[in-house]
């Protein structure tokens, strides 16, 4: 496409970035205004948890068409399940949306890591708790979505090759039937 695409889901993209950004902003700015660690902790971690939920359940679905979750199957084993739109829909996804999605997804833990290093340097070990929680939430989403994307690509490839094989085999079959 030669023309410039606009975001096709601006509201979702906004929410995707909103909670991440406000968690980071609140963490950084809170100590200037409110002198309470508890409030800072609860609000930051709550925003990070909201962000986790939004990314996993809403923006992942809408912006890149991927979904992941964990289940326990009947044998009691933990199974990671991935869901993705089929290939046509995936290709029709807005490029800008997915660019925003993946970039902010990977950038957030980097920022939190930097903030964590700052907290260690300042010897504020309580704040490491906040950073640790936010890091683990971002990491969970990254791992889930990366696995999901890789799985979706693998599925598309295997689907294509399987169908091609079936096609070839059935052609052979029909050819042989004529003999």
């Amino acid at each position: 496409m030669a023309e410039e695409e606009n975001y096709s889901n601006p509201l979702t993209a906004l929410f995707h970035v909103l909670f991440k950004g406000s968690a980071i902003a609140f963490y950084i700015l809170c100590s200037f205004f409110i002198n309470s660690f508890i409030i800072q902790f609860v609000v930051t971690v709550f925003l990070a948890a909201l962000d986790f939920w939004v990314v996993k359940n809403v923006s992942g679905r809408i912006l890149v068409g991927l979904r992941w979750w964990n289940e326990i199957n009947d044998q009691g084993e933990s199974v990671w399940r991935f869901e993705s739109l089929d290939r046509e829909s995936l290709e029709r996804m807005n490029k800008k949306d997915s660019w925003l999605f993946w970039w902010t997804l990977y950038l957030t833990p980097v920022v939190w890591l930097a903030l964590g290093i700052v907290a260690v340097i300042k010897f504020n070990f309580d704040y490491l708790l906040i950073v640790g929680m936010c890091l683990s939430l971002s990491a969970a989403n990254i791992i889930g979505f990366t696995k999901c994307r890789r799985d979706a690509k693998k599925q598309i490839q295997s689907l294509a090759s399987q169908v091609v094989t079936a096609h070839v085999a059935s052609r052979l079959q029909s050819a042989l039937n004529f003999v």
């Binding site: 609860v42 009691g76 869901e83 829909s89 689907l159 399987q162 096609h167 059935s170």
Partner: protein, 262 residues
């Protein structure tokens, strides 16, 4: 004969993908069986049109299980997990409602008497960590609210003790040779904090030592009763005490923290 009727013998101008997916509908079963007469296309999922017209909303999708690699599962489309194939396109409120209901149902399963408690592994199959998250925050908040000195410290300590404690307890079970799923166990241990959270909020009401002792005793017993089946069935019987004791210790210490708050 029937094969050649179904398979287009010429490649039209439609895209290759459309034709391949058309063939997919026809040849879902292995080729041998496809040669049998009159076999209709089997997959129950939303149909992908043969010609290149836009697919009907919602877009068709596949649900894949990561532990089994693709061929039969992706060809079959949906894998016996009823509502999952619609979760990709469901509205946001539906997701939210589903998650909230899941929290409530998990709470009911873990903490309240119900017939599923016998089979611990099955009971919390749809584990989630939202409930534990809220309970830990709530408990830490209540304990720090009443603390006379250095509230942030109390909050941080309680939060760290509870979350690290849950992780360590799970590791303990794993290292004792138990079969337990990490996140599921974290979820169970977190949900079992619910009675303690209730006890802490009730204790806020009155300052009477005897009253608080009774409440704490009752809630610690409740928590222990709730968590016992999950932990004890996860380890070999000879190691049951080794796995259960630290869990009970954690809850009893939380109980003391609640009791000591003034």
């Amino acid at each position: 004969m029937t094969d050649s009727e179904r398979i287009p013998l010429h490649f039209s101008s439609q895209s290759d993908i459309d034709e391949i997916e058309d063939l997919l509908h026809i040849s879902v079963e292995p080729v041998r069986q496809a040669a049998d007469a009159g076999k209709p296309p089997s997959p129950p999922r939303a149909t992908i049109p043969v010609f290149s017209s836009p697919p009907p909303p919602p877009p068709p999708l596949r649900s894949v299980e990561a532990s089994t690699s693709g061929a039969s599962s992706s060809a079959g489309g949906l894998i016996g997990f009823g509502p999952a194939h619609t979760t990709l396109t469901e509205p946001v409120w539906a997701t939210l409602k589903r998650d909230l209901l899941q929290v409530v149902s998990n709470l009911r399963i873990v903490v309240f008497p119900n017939p599923y408690r016998k089979d611990a592994g099955r009971a919390l199959r749809d584990w989630d960590l939202w409930g534990p998250f809220f309970f830990i925050i709530f408990l830490a908040f209540i304990l720090s609210y009443n603390a006379s000195a250095d509230r942030p410290k109390v909050f941080a300590v309680v939060f760290a003790v509870l979350s690290a404690g849950a992780i360590v307890l799970t590791l303990n079970v794993v290292l004792l040779g138990g079969s337990i799923i990490f996140l599921q166990s974290l979820s169970v241990l977190g949900y079992c904090l619910f009675p303690l959270a209730i006890g802490a909020s009730v204790c806020m009401a009155k300052d009477d030592k005897i009253f608080r002792s009774i409440v704490v005793l009752a809630t610690v017993t409740w928590s222990s009763w709730a968590v016992y089946p999950f932990v004890s069935t996860a380890v070999p019987p000879s190691r049951k005490a080794l796995a259960v004791y630290p869990v009970l210790l954690l809850y009893v210490s939380m109980g003391f923290l609640v009791l000591a708050n003034n």
